[in-house]
Symmetry: C2
Subunit: 335 residues, 2 copies
């Protein structure tokens, strides 16, 4: 489907479900961006879920997001149970504005929901020539080291920085071996998942995505990945006033109440310490690393975010490929 | 050797090498702490290296560390090529003081050197009831994803938070499969290293620590670990004014100049957003996770820093075990 048409359709759906035009636009842009950067697991495959949660009154389509100013640098956002996109959009804009004024902006969010890709918010800061760290928690998917039950979300760690070029450095890495959204897409589309990334509910390795969703995803690097996931749960949940310790509900299967996800955005000016030489320094950093001898078969050493940017540029020229399941969703939701 | 005696001996050595009493004490405390927490790779096995670097005039024993105030929250520390302990100690104390005043403290350090364990500085903040992130870069040890040559250091990610108990939560995880210091100790003591953590200089897997030191250490989780290492290089090197992109010299083998390592300390009040309920929230978080069903053979789910704290408490009651190599170092240095 053409991007422009898809944009109109999705916006219309969100408006039908009670969002005002501004919020509908925010949510639509985020979902379509996920498709364009090649992360359909965080794109249109989630649209029906958001609408279902609105219908079942566990997302507030008319949320009044509140910003509490704590200092010139720090703010606390209460999402009022909005779709995550809406609260997160206000929060990152506040963090950017604070960083522009004082050098640093720290904004915590509570009472939010799933907000798509962390990298999407990091990009907003980097486009304003700022450095950024983004943390969010998520429903249980990964077992803490030593435990037999999932509790941590895939809790991404996300970092972005200007690069002195048009292509931002955006690291957006979940601490699970595989993105939960990818398992979900595999389950929807009837595909297998790789070996070694998940266990079924009995603790046995599986390549069946449905069994993996009922079971446990494995963290990267054992106790190290488990520790990083725990850090993210504390930074985005315990610190912010959001849910934590495994209490974020699965948005697809648990309609017993709002998710109350927490997010944390930390934005800073990259020239705080080295002034105008920052651009030269980051360019030199990237250039030096790209010049290293390469493993056989590797043409170019890519920095995080580079291939995503290339996919985005390519996809902008094309129509967005819609799976059969998503098309059914669109047709049923717009009715 | 008894802790008290060892403390006197090491302090005397640092003073002999030109440090004033305050700086000698700072360095001695950091090295002995590494022994007590069970990280001898960052302890006395490095003493001779520091002294050698002073002798060869690539560490300044009489460094005048400068603090440049950027705002009430932000400062830039110029280590003046001190031993890393000295610059880092001043920097973390500045970050703590700024956070106490404004809620957040961000302090960058340039012209520093190897500062031991990141967790040691995180602990200082947590003891003052603050949350903390610590980043530092290090000499080349890990190859960027796709490259055939080491460039990133083991670039630890370190996070600490108060827990509402005496035992702090301190995650201090390098992004390499194994700590470089551990390989170095194995090489000194003639032991093997585990499989799958390093390649020799020809790109072949090795369990020989000497071959591993000449070769490449593997990052955790492939491109994810490589991305995290790159993030740490930017945060602690490019941003701070420190060396980066593989230019931090190996302190043991490269005496051609100072290391100019960069560090970044970010400290914040844990009650910024949730007020006095923070203690209740973090206790609940830890308690909930500890209650999960456990894998067979696991008695307790430990949070990061817990076993280190237990080792520290145990070791405080004992003498510190000195290896033959370290004893030789101590004897030759004190002469």
């Amino acid at each position: 489907m053409k991007i422009k048409k898809l944009n109109l359709v999705v916006k219309k759906i969100f408006k039908k479900y009670g969002l005002n035009l501004t919020d509908a636009k925010t949510c639509t842009d985020a979902l379509i961006n996920a498709e364009l950067v090649g992360s359909p697991s965080h794109g249109l495959s989630r649209l029906k879920m958001y609408c279902d949660r609105i219908s079942k009154k566990v997302i507030n389509p008319r949320a009044k997001v509140k910003i509490k100013k704590i200092s010139q640098s720090i703010a606390h956002v209460d999402g009022n149970n909005s779709i995550g996109f809406v609260a997160a959009d206000i929060a990152i804009k506040t963090a950017i504005s604070n960083a522009k004024k004082t050098g640093i902006g720290l904004v915590a969010v509570k009472n939010s929901g799933h907000y798509g890709l962390s990298g999407y918010y990091a990009e907003q800061a980097v486009k304003k020539n700022l450095m950024v760290l983004v943390f969010t928690n998520a429903p249980p998917a990964v077992a803490p080291h030593g435990a037999l039950k999932s509790l941590f979300g895939t809790n991404p760690i996300c970092f972005g920085t200007p690069t002195g070029s048009k292509v931002p450095f955006i690291l957006d890495t979940s601490i699970s071996m595989i993105n939960r959204g990818k398992i979900r897409v595999a389950a929807r589309e009837g595909e297998k998942i790789p070996e070694g990334v998940a266990l079924d509910k009995f603790g046995k390795p599986t390549t069946n995505p449905k069994k993996a969703l009922e079971g446990v995803q494995l963290p990267i690097a054992g106790f190290r990945g488990s520790g990083l996931a725990w850090m993210v749960d504390i930074l985005s949940g315990v610190l912010t006033g959001g849910n934590h310790a495994g209490r974020v509900k699965d948005p697809f299967t648990d309609f017993s109440g709002p998710q109350n996800i927490g997010h944390l955005f930390f934005v800073m000016k990259p020239n705080l310490f080295v002034g105008n030489s920052f651009n030269k320094r980051i360019k030199d950093n990237i250039k030096t690393i790209k010049k290293l001898p390469k493993i056989k078969g590797v043409k170019e050493i890519l920095y995080p975010g580079q291939s995503k940017y290339n996919r985005y540029k390519d996809n902008l020229k094309k129509e967005i490929k819609i799976t059969k399941n998503v098309l059914e969703d669109l047709n049923s939701l717009i009715r």
